[in-house]
Symmetry: C2
Subunit: 360 residues, 2 copies
């Protein structure tokens, strides 16, 4: 009798608590609510601000700051508006705020509590500038300071790492952009986002356990460009928060101006690679990374690009590039959560972090 091999059942790690997973899965319904409840409010806000500013200044921290990065491309490309990111320490530590003449000032904060963001909006009001805040907490110091408020309708976010408030912030910004240029075609595309996220989550259900390949990954790089520059930053932040992996985000252009020197054989590089205007740029980076022997993890809705990677995280083809950041972050969220579990860390409650961080 020959040897009989029986597959051994692996002790697959399971997370005992599923708060973060639940909030990731909640995203389609949160976005549906936001689109339903805020459309009219945002229409009236954009009308009231029209003609009152020449550029936008956004104050935000953490995931909200990554949403602000999305706004730079979104408002730039579709509304021809230049977006600047605020430097809060000028307003708080130095007490030497710049003149905000010609600016519309937007604060983004899930909790509405970070004192530095509130300070920027207070100064804007003092200078007579129009102000807006995007938040998940209706009764906060931030909402009391801003002229206008957009609520995220994300219900309470219980996990430490932001997921649903991040995608909801992107959708709020996308809604502002659509209302500013009054384009029904883009609005129709935006309505598709909840179902694209659902499809993405479903299609990754079986795939995500393969994340265990990265159990001993200690550092990595995340690359995104244009609209998905924000996605690279947000994936890097999720990985740092949930898995303690040292993880630095870059645009493909900045990456070539020096940081590419850190890439050697086997170094994991996550690439956010939607089809669209950035495709050729991303293809060039992939050729360079292959030469260097990097391990490539690709998040894409473009089959030829996906097939160039070692580990593939797909999202629906139909998502247009300007909306792809709202979808492409979801594989990143699931990857970071699964990797936390593989590393025996609690994804719902990372050690050393608190939900509300108050900085000056």
């Amino acid at each position: 009798m020959g040897l009989r091999y029986e597959p051994i059942k692996q002790g697959f790690p399971m997370s005992k608590s599923n708060i973060l997973l639940h909030e990731i899965e909640e995203q389609p319904s949160v976005i549906r609510n936001l689109l339903d409840y805020e459309m009219e409010n945002i229409r009236s806000i954009t009308r009231s601000f029209q003609g009152k500013f020449k550029y936008i200044l956004i104050a935000a921290r953490g995931s909200s700051d990554n949403a602000a990065r999305y706004a730079q491309y979104l408002f730039g490309a579709y509304n021809k508006i230049q977006v600047a990111l605020a430097t809060p320490s000028l307003f708080t530590l130095y007490k030497r705020p710049p003149s905000l003449n010609e600016a519309l000032v937007i604060g983004i904060s899930q909790s509405g509590q970070s004192p530095d963001i509130i300070e920027v909006l207070k100064e804007a009001k003092k200078q007579g500038r129009p102000t807006l805040c995007i938040t998940n907490e209706f009764n906060s110091k931030l909402t009391k300071t801003a002229d206008e408020v957009i609520k995220l309708h994300a219900r309470k976010e219980k996990a430490i790492a932001a997921t649903k408030t991040y995608t909801a912030s992107l959708v709020a910004l996308a809604l502002i952009s659509c209302c500013l240029d009054n384009d029904p075609k883009r609005l129709k595309q935006l309505m598709m986002v909840p179902s694209w996220i659902s499809q993405t989550i479903n299609s990754l259900k079986n795939l995500i356990s393969l994340t265990q390949r990265y159990r001993y990954m200690e550092h990595c790089v995340v690359i995104g460009r244009g609209f998905n520059y924000a996605t690279a930053f947000e994936i890097a932040l999720k990985l740092k928060e949930l898995t303690k992996v040292f993880c630095e985000p870059y645009s493909s252009a900045d990456f070539l101006h020096g940081p590419i020197a850190t890439i050697g054989k086997g170094v994991p590089v996550i690439i956010v690679a939607p089809g669209g205007k950035v495709k050729r740029d991303i293809e060039n980076i992939l050729i360079k990374l292959r030469t260097l022997g990097a391990e490539t993890i690709i998040i894409s809705n473009n089959t030829p690009l996906l097939l160039k990677g070692r580990f593939l995280l797909p999202f629906p083809k139909s998502a247009d590039e300007w909306l792809s950041p709202i979808i492409a972050i979801v594989p990143g969220q699931l990857f970071a959560r699964q990797l936390a579990i593989e590393k025996s860390l609690n994804p719902d409650n990372p050690i050393g972090l608190t939900k509300v961080t108050e900085t000056y």
Copy 2:
């Protein structure tokens, strides 16, 4: 007869070529030249731009982009001007540039050759906006595009990693700031920078060999705030370029919004900690880092702050906070160069990098 111990002479690593070291040491003379030759030019440029813009947009990559970060704090705090950083892909890949109405547009590029930076300035001109470039190459496409040119007078930079063109860019920006607000006291402080850099280099001559402690460091974090947010980015870039260490820069505030989760026992954290308005903020971070057991490397001109670190890199006390980034980068440059040597890498010619990087 007892055993006699004789000290064994260690095989201290030496670099065979000293191009980078020479350029680091050249910085005081480069800055003296720049202050001598460009003062009048900058005075006349600032006069010609006065009243023609409401905010500044800067396009730059790599080290020059870090100089742009310094400009955000410098022009914000001393000239009350809001500074935005450009998103070049909107101008190149997407061909959807935002309206630059009310902006003064500045391009910073050592080589004057990066196509994306040139593209931003071309668009600015097309929109009738005033443009300025800061560069080390007088005959480049960038100088031909810009209305006004500030030359860095840094002679040819031969090492791949930028050092003297970085500090010269900061000095050019500082000169603009002084000329804009016509403050002779600040101008007098600025004149001290060359001698402060010389003092810093001299005082580190013996100390820097202790860098070998970090021979096996694979990743680290660099923290700076306000004026020295730029310094944190530039030190991280030098470390990536020269030593292949994964190294992420943060402001102390952003660091608390998530990334602090990556810090465990022994993780090296470089902190740029001048005295001044950021002192209390940096002290708070140091307390947190001590609790987490991080290894702290402190670059400071403040004795109480220095004494809180494990490895100390001092610079002259008299350097005022607004000028400290031009001095505080020097210990970072020397640290990164020495660490490259300790790791048996060639600091003059890092593998995989070229002097001019052309990105779109």
